[in-house]
Amino acid sequence: MDLALHWGAALPAAEPETPPKAKTGSSRGADDLLARLARRDEAAFAELIRHHFDRIYRIAWRVLGGAADAEDVAQEAFLKAWTAPGQIRDARAIGAWLSRVATNLALDRLRRRRPDAPGELPDLADPAAAADRGLQRASLEAEVAAALTALPDRQRAALVLVHFEGLGNVEAAEMLGVSVEAVESLLARARRSLKLAFADRWRELVQELSDL
C-alpha cells in the first residue's frame, strides 16, 4: 500500500519558510548584470554585493564554524566574481556560483587550518541580546554551536547549505562535488552526530526546548 494513501491526503508542496533562496531577478537582468561585471562596472559589482553578500557571508560563517575569517572568505568569493566573471557560465545562477566558491574557499581554509589549530568557538551575534534571552537559552546556543563546530567539515557544509540556507539537495550536491545520495548521507551523519552530542540529556532537552 502506498504511504500517501495509507496516511490520507498528502499536504500540498510548500516552499521552505526560511531562508528563501537567493534570487537574481529576471534572466535578462542577470545577463545584464554579468555583462556589466565583465566590463568592470563598479555599480554592477555593488549591486551584486547588495543582493548576495549577506547570504554568502552567512554560508562562510557557518561552514567555518563561526570563525572570524568568514568575512575574508566572503570577500574573496566576490573578488573572484569581479576578477574573473567569465567563470560564471550561467548568469541566473550567479548566487549559486558565489555560494559554491564561498563554500569551497571555507573548506580549503579548514583543511589548511587543521590539524594544527582547533576550530574556533563562534562569536555570538549579540552577547547582550543573548543575555537578555536568558542564560539557559544562551547556553544551549553555545552548546549547539560547539556541537556543529565539532562536526567534520563536509557534514557541516552540507547542513549549512541544505538546512540553514534552504538549498535543494541537487544544488548542494553540485556545490560539494558529490552525488545527491552522498549529500543525504552527510546530512544524516551530521544530524546523528548532533544527537549523540546531546545524548546524555536528550530527554531533558525535549522539556528544555518546549519551555523556551
Binding site: M1, D2, G8, Y57, R58, A74, Q75, L79, E141, V144
Partner: protein
C-alpha cells in the same frame, strides 16, 4: 503491498534522518510522503528529527560583518582583472609583461653592437663553415672553378 510499505517507510526514515521532520525542507518531489501523523513504526524517528530541528534552530545567527560593503567595492576597484592574475596571485606589472620585451630589446642592442663593432665580419664565416672533417662533402663548388676551359684553376 507489504513491500511498498517497507520501501515507503525506508525512504521516510531517510528523509527524517537527512532533512528533519519539517517536510518544507524535504526534496520538493517527495513532500507528498508527509502526513501529520507518522506511521507508528517511525514515531521515534519523527520525534528525534523534530528535536534536532529545534536544536538547529537554536544555532546562533551570524554577527553583522564588520566591514562595510563600500570597502569591498573600493577594494575591487583596486583589484586587477583576471588577465593580470596568474594562478590567483597578484603579479607586478613589470614581472608580468616586460621580461619578454626586455629580452627582445637586449638581443636587438647586442646585435646592433656586434654589427657596428665588426665582430661579425671575423666570426661569421668561421661560424657558418663549422667544423670540417674528412667525410664532409662540399655541396657548393668554389666560385673560381672554370668549367668552360675544361681544366681546374
Amino acid at each position: 503491498m507489504k513491500q511498498n510499505d517497507t520501501n515507503g517507510h525506508d525512504r521516510l526514515r531517510q528523509l527524517y534522518a537527512a532533512y528533519g521532520a519539517d517536510p518544507a525542507r524535504w526534496p520538493e518531489h517527495e513532500r507528498w510522503r508527509y502526513c501529520d501523523t507518522p506511521p507508528p513504526e517511525l514515531v521515534e524517528e519523527h520525534k528525534d528529527a523534530h528535536l534536532i530541528d529545534r536544536l538547529l534552530a537554536r544555532h546562533a545567527v551570524p554577527p553583522t560583518p564588520v566591514q562595510d560593503h563600500r570597502q569591498l567595492i573600493a577594494g575591487a576597484a583596486a583589484a586587477p582583472s583576471a588577465r593580470r592574475l596568474i594562478r590567483g596571485r597578484r603579479v607586478p606589472l613589470l614581472m608580468r609583461e616586460w621580461p619578454a620585451a626586455l629580452a627582445l630589446a637586449a638581443s636587438l642592442a647586442i646585435g646592433v653592437w656586434i654589427g657596428a663593432a665588426g665582430i661579425a665580419d671575423d666570426l661569421l664565416p668561421s661560424l657558418l663553415a663549422g667544423p670540417v672533417d674528412s667525410d664532409t662533402v662540399a655541396l657548393d663548388p668554389p666560385d673560381n672553378l672554370d668549367f668552360d676551359s675544361g681544366g681546374g684553376t
